[in-house]
Subunit: 273 residues, 3 copies
Amino acid sequence: MDHQETAAEVGRLLAKMRAAHPLVQNITNFVAMDIAANVLLAAGAAPAMVHAPEESPEFVRLAAALVVNTGTLSRTQAESMEVATIAARSHGTPWVLDPVGAGATRFRDETVQKLLRHRPMVIRGNASEIMAVARGAGLTLETARPRGVDSANTTDEAEALARLLARHCFCIVAATGAVDVVTDGKRMIRLANGSPLMTRVTALGCALSALVGAFVGLGEDPFIATVAALAIYGVAGEIAAETARGPGSFRVEFIDCLDRIGPDDVKARLKLA
Amino acid sequence: MDHQETAAEVGRLLAKMRAAHPLVQNITNFVAMDIAANVLLAAGAAPAMVHAPEESPEFVRLAAALVVNTGTLSRTQAESMEVATIAARSHGTPWVLDPVGAGATRFRDETVQKLLRHRPMVIRGNASEIMAVARGAGLTLETARPRGVDSANTTDEAEALARLLARHCFCIVAATGAVDVVTDGKRMIRLANGSPLMTRVTALGCALSALVGAFVGLGEDPFIATVAALAIYGVAGEIAAETARGPGSFRVEFIDCLDRIGPDDVKARLKLA
Amino acid sequence: MDHQETAAEVGRLLAKMRAAHPLVQNITNFVAMDIAANVLLAAGAAPAMVHAPEESPEFVRLAAALVVNTGTLSRTQAESMEVATIAARSHGTPWVLDPVGAGATRFRDETVQKLLRHRPMVIRGNASEIMAVARGAGLTLETARPRGVDSANTTDEAEALARLLARHCFCIVAATGAVDVVTDGKRMIRLANGSPLMTRVTALGCALSALVGAFVGLGEDPFIATVAALAIYGVAGEIAAETARGPGSFRVEFIDCLDRIGPDDVKARLKLA
């Protein structure tokens, strides 16, 4: 797909989202709950934060997608993620994994690796998290490339590991940052929208994973759905940054922009790198 | 009470709230905590989020009202709600039930039905939640009306079930939406203020339940106290929507409006349907 | 230190913060998580909310400081605070205690007194909380002063107990309010910046404790680091209040101000009482 086709597809999915209002169930961290719910509402989706193991698998029946985020992991949340992702897989409901803090503690790494068995449709994280998940799954660049590429820079390394992880898990992998990379193991798209202010507001990455859930909940090609979520997020961030006076007003403007953004904004501003 | 008397009573209770600063204890969901606390502060009340079963009943002694919300229910929270509502009843402290997601899972329905035994002073939810609570309590329209009214539209049905539920529980029931309905089983008031933007910000319904708690904590007629909370909320939402540019700025304006709103705004804008 | 020297030191630490981006681990309450993380980001620090006992001690290795806050205490959180503060002490990582609600329930008081054994570097609370912690530790004014000073006003009493508590725990104590008091048991500084709007936004006190963590995480004299956090917070609050239209817009402006504030603002506005 070239730039114009990608922008058109993103615009089409955005319109579909606003007509369908997919219900997105989140088992997410306590920092992200407010902003993730407001991002989903602004973009046209319907949020539900349902995390107790006593009800999370039952609630999956009602949801178009499930999003699992390890940001403030607890024993009970890990248990809930386990039973809810099993339910999602058995219902054929797509689910998104946001492995927040992967690599920081054994508890997170073990939880993330267990969850991989239940087949996420998308894994979204920053470069370090994606690399930690890939390494935790036993993937190294040596398995894919000849030795001698140790000088590969971090971005290249993240891209290569993202591709390996996507193939290993049969899923979409999105490593986001100044440039976002999305791959299904074969296709790869790089997006370059956004603003440095997006790193100055807490949990905006987590809220992006929730939005990826909303887009894959539309039931179309998950690769382009993931691209759509990232594109809309980046373009809205770019527009919001033009009038924000700091991270406080940026957060407010960003939600307003997500609400207002349309296919024309995507067409005019989408940057593929 | 006619329109003018209602507006006068609401204005009087608002002034009393700002003098009394009632302490409202909340056992609420994690999405609502921030916005509910800020709504209470803006309206003149004092929030406390105290949910551990180890301390929630002890804290009830200090509170003017308790608000219980099932939005992100967990086993531990359900246990805490049980012991805290028992303490509230034994202290004569009014408590408000917000049965978020009633009807969605068995866990919520069972928890809500157990809590009803401890006599909430007010139940506030959207139409579906109120109907789910009423049905869970074994109430059906057939017990009140002859068969053959199946064509009753949803609003009518919610109103009829709200009235039955209020009688069954000896409490106030408020079903909120584009039009809010408040009933004590005999009296019924319909309020028509507000803005569609209020559905685009997460947890504004939960925060309204917290505000109902603040008003019933003033120790006056709980029916008019509930009407006062809904009236002030709706009028503030209406004013805020006039300058908001989207759901992000609406949230900010709404808190500013709740802080500024006075009896004259209520008098000028209150709409009874 | 006179006024000019204090302002210069605060400015120097602020510049250091923005270069060092210290990672601050928080075991905090659910109301404060969003605002505390955004305050840390705006001031130049890096927040992490990591509270499960399964990983909180392991995460301490990575953090420049740990902040423990009892605002929505639970059995599991208390357990996590215990093991994380032990880890902090053993790693030589400074930690800050915010004893929210001390004096309100036995559960909080017992938890706070247990934590004192693991040597917080700073205790920050409002006057009532600091007095409750001091009394829980068995400190009374009689131990320091002759009987007959019962007419001491509350501020004096809080100051005297803060000083005793600082000596008892070998730490810094900050009692914040309209006037903030910081003492290490010998030195005492009173700061008089800020705005009444700061009490109208939930969890701004909790977020201040997080910022104290960021400053003591710079590894300098914890007394002046605590003064720096309070000074910057108060000055930013004062600037934000000049353009805010209510508590909603104040919160937004405040984060923007924390992001923009520089040594010159501190120099021009710092008020020592």
